[in-house]
């Protein structure tokens, strides 16, 4: 007669524990997060020092992360005000990028897939983008064609931006990554 409560407790524990695991491996990419405004990076995910959460998340997704000696990935799914980046709005990515041999900026949908468009344009590289006189970039994410550095969002309700810095001289030992300035993400107008 004590068996039913015991079974229920075990069931609840399993569901809760595995549920938290599922949430952790789908929503996060490891505990070791470096933040800069809305951008998040996981420098140690690309090293042998990756924490168990990063290892679990990468094993589940099947991604081969960029090795830290090769480069570093930053992901942003919200703007500077903390609002999710809406593909139906015009969003600007403005600012100077950190020192790196090259960088790429890629737009993805909420599931991490590239967004189809007629131009076949999924992002910009440091060689393709048009810089301002001060060396800053000004990229616009918009569902409609724009002059200048335009990335088509396909009017998806949620989009993510991936910034990859390759061969960049970083030091994370001092926590300097948190102070690293990355471009601002500003919502300009919604249609």
């Amino acid at each position: 007669m004590r068996l039913l409560p015991l079974a229920f407790t075990l069931l609840a524990a399993t569901v809760l524990g595995l549920g938290v695991t599922w949430f952790a491996v789908t929503e996060s990419r490891g505990l070791d997060v470096v933040r800069s405004g809305p951008w998040q990076g996981w420098p140690r995910a690309g090293t042998v020092k990756a924490d168990p959460y990063a290892r679990a998340a990468l094993a589940r997704s099947g991604e081969l992360p960029i090795e830290l000696a090769d480069g570093l990935l930053f992901l942003a799914s919200s703007d500077d005000q903390g609002r999710p980046i809406d593909g139906r709005c015009v969003t600007r990515i403005v600012g100077v990028l950190p020192q790196a041999r090259l960088w790429t900026l890629t737009l993805m949908d909420a599931d991490g897939r590239l967004i189809p468009n007629d131009a076949g344009r999924y992002g910009f590289t440091s060689a393709e983008v048009v810089y301002s006189d001060s060396g800053a970039i000004d990229v616009r994410l918009s569902p409609r064609a724009r002059a200048g550095n335009w990335l088509p969002t396909g009017a998806r309700s949620r989009v993510k931006v991936v910034l990859r810095l390759y061969d960049a001289p970083f030091s994370f030992a001092s926590g300097a990554g948190d102070a690293m300035a990355l471009p601002r993400i500003e919502r300009e107008a919604c249609l």
Partner: protein, 211 residues
């Protein structure tokens, strides 16, 4: 209940926050002890289940990078990967500005030789264990124009003849912590028009068992 009361009396009397905690305690204390105990046990067991599942995930994940790649590549052979498109991507989160090639390695028999030619732009070679853990990377800038290296297990490195190790000063030896894993070569495509050219250059990349 008496234990909770004892705990409560030991707390110093203080402001509204403490009072709120105390009222929560009082409300919890009115619950049957059996339910509280079950809940506590459930939370502890859930924590254990969570930790075990996180730690076991790399070993249990069936669709990890190695499994995905072994569907289209033989061991110890360099294979070009299709460029990621909105419909299809061999692996998630691939950078569309890069052309990639992979070599799934198996060091059981003998070490692996990897040769990556210079391409028009930035080229990097990264090494991963079969569980997807990155353990080494080098770029063309660090290695010079053509990247040539030997990948081996710690035992194979220890078995290298002494004299060979002296002449191996210009030979790059990388030690793999596992016998199986992935070598991934990424070549940057500066502008879209150059993609075909970079792809052709990267096709000369190769890996194979050291003779």
């Amino acid at each position: 209940m008496s234990m909770i009361d004892a705990l409560r009396h030991r707390l110093p009397p203080a402001g509204p926050a403490r009072r709120r905690v105390e009222s929560l305690w009082a409300r919890l204390a009115r619950w049957p002890a059996g339910i509280l105990l079950s809940a506590a046990v459930a939370v502890v067991l859930a924590g254990i289940a969570h930790i075990i599942s996180i730690l076991a995930m790399p070993a249990l994940a069936e669709r990890n990078a190695y499994a995905r790649l072994s569907e289209l590549a033989e061991s110890n052979q360099m294979v070009m990967l299709a460029d990621p498109t909105p419909q299809e991507s061999v692996l998630p989160m691939m950078d569309p500005a890069f052309v990639s090639a992979v070599c799934l390695y198996d060091l059981t028999q003998r070490p692996l030789k990897v040769r990556v030619p210079a391409t028009a732009d930035y080229t990097s070679v990264s090494f991963y264990t079969a569980e997807g853990l990155a353990f080494y990377a080098l770029s063309d800038q660090a290695a010079g124009a053509v990247v040539e290296l030997d990948l081996m297990t710690p035992a194979q490195k220890a078995a290298l003849p002494e004299d060979e190790e002296i002449t191996a000063a210009d030979r790059l030896v990388i030690v793999s912590p596992t016998t199986e894993g992935v070598v991934m070569v990424r070549a940057f495509v500066r502008e879209r028009g150059l993609r075909a050219g970079v792809r052709k250059q990267l096709e000369a990349a190769g890996c194979g068992e050291a003779g």
